[in-house]
């Protein structure tokens, strides 16, 4: 507290240097600056995939361009299937429909099968995650059934349901359910003891525990890597649809027709891929909403 007194005795020199005014460059208008930053952020996300896609197409083109190659180059696929790509909405009756209709039928089946799988899968996953007894009892069964390829379920489903539509939905259901069960169980088993203690001290009941702790705490794992789940589901549906179609039109699937059908599948694959990508983003968005931002990708 005595410092100021001492200081006033020692400070004698007058400040000699005068301040010079440095003219700073005028700031860019905030609006333009923000727009530029936004643009840069977007291009940082868009440019890398564009570059890579171009590169892959280029390699494909180069590999398949020479005569006698087994697969057509992308340019030929594009020109051959252009009418299918540009007009996905045509409907000439029967199965001769635009890709939009095929995809929408596919997506309806996926939505139904996936919704069923989510309900059953989350219920079973919760059971297995909470009870060690259930885990020990059910886990071996899950592990064995999980490895059965989706296509192998199809004859079983067809035998059971005797119709294409429910069988396809069943195959989607059975493909989607294993990762849901496993991710749910792992997510619940990994709820930190801290959060369980909080719930215990506050005496949250089972329902409150489920909504307030379990879902937000387990959701990051739950909805983790959605790509791993949707892609096989869509692929599974495509496969089941193809087999379904093949069963009905077995005779048509011969020779040239088969080849044509094969080529027609290229744009189909492209569309399916795009839809898968969109679904991926949607699920990531849901994960973000459920965990209220704590599951930052």
């Amino acid at each position: 507290m005595n410092m100021p007194v001492l200081k006033s005795e020692t400070v004698t020199a007058e400040p000699t240097a005068t301040a010079t005014i440095v003219a700073l460059p005028p700031r860019r208008s905030p609006l333009a600056g923000r727009a530029a930053a936004r643009l840069r952020a977007i291009s940082a996300r868009v440019v890398p995939p564009l570059v890579m896609v171009t590169l892959v197409l280029l390699i494909w083109e180069l590999l398949c361009r020479k005569a006698g190659s087994t697969l057509p180059p992308p340019s030929k696929v594009l020109s051959d299937t252009w009418e299918l790509i540009v007009d996905p909405f045509f409907d000439r009756g029967g199965l001769d429909k635009g890709l939009f209709w095929h995809l929408s039928a596919s997506l309806q089946r996926v939505a139904l099968g996936y919704a069923l799988a989510s309900v059953v899968g989350v219920a079973l996953g919760t059971l297995v995650g909470q009870s060690i007894w259930a885990m020990r009892g059910l886990d071996p069964i899950f592990q064995v059934l999980r490895t059965v390829p989706p296509l192998a379920w199809l004859p079983l489903a067809l035998a059971a349901f005797r119709q294409g539509q429910p069988s396809a939905i069943f195959v989607i259901f059975i493909t989607a359910i294993w990762p849901i069960i496993i991710n749910t169980a792992v997510g619940i088993r990994n709820i930190p003891q801290d959060y369980r203690n909080v719930a215990a001290v506050l005496r949250l009941n089972h329902l409150e525990f489920f909504y307030k702790i379990m879902i937000p705490a387990a959701a990051p794992l739950h909805l983790h890597r959605p790509a791993h789940r949707h892609r096989p589901v869509l692929a599974g549906d495509r496969r089941s649809r193809d087999v379904d179609r093949r069963r009905r039109h077995r005779l048509l699937y011969l020779g040239r027709v088969e080849l044509l059908a094969h080529q027609r599948d290229h744009p189909g694959a492209g569309y399916v891929g795009l839809v898968g990508f969109v679904l991926d983003r949607i699920v990531a968005g849901i994960a973000n909403a459920v965990t209220r931002g704590t599951a930052a990708n």
């Binding site: 909080v198 001290v201 949250l204």
Partner: protein, 154 residues
């Protein structure tokens, strides 16, 4: 005067497979109301185990914990625990974390408005009212965690 908190010949051992590890043996401690007690010891000597038993998070192997002559055998909001980790729920805001406890303790006893007032009052006590809509991060978490267990005085 009866003892407020009485830890009566408490033993605690943990079973891991067929191995039994004895952590606490014959702990006797009585604490009066308003008394401050520090439990000091080296790492792993059972301080947290004892506190968890008082909190009701762990069952005793032998003996009993009595709070105002009532045996403690389950956790409850009447005993405040500030955990070693902040234990805040990161998907709730600062306000929601405190409000969760306030709602559980005063459900049906105070009106919605009173519970809001009480939550804000407690946040102001730790100078966290300004951050009520933020998510708990870093050092602030401990301050706020201290507010959540609702002290008996409330």
């Amino acid at each position: 005067m009866t003892d407020y908190l009485k830890i009566d010949h408490v033993d605690k051992s943990f079973m891991r497979g067929s191995n039994e590890t004895e952590v606490l043996k014959d702990i006797v401690l009585t604490i009066d109301s308003g008394e401050y007690v520090s439990i000091i010891g080296h790492s792993g000597c059972g301080k947290s185990t004892l506190l968890n038993i008082v909190a009701g998070l762990l069952p005793v192997t032998r003996g009993a914990v009595l709070l105002q002559n009532q045996e403690v055998n389950e956790p409850g909001p009447d005993r405040a625990v500030v955990f070693q980790n902040h234990s805040l729920l990161p998907w709730l805001t600062v306000y929601q974390n405190v409000r969760l406890a306030v709602d559980k303790v005063f459900a049906g006893k105070r009106s919605r408005d009173e519970r809001h007032q009480w939550t804000m009052h407690n946040l102001e006590l730790v100078q966290m009212a300004h951050a009520k809509d933020k998510r708990p991060i870093g050092n602030f978490r401990r301050h706020e965690a201290a507010r959540r267990p609702c002290p008996r005085a409330c």
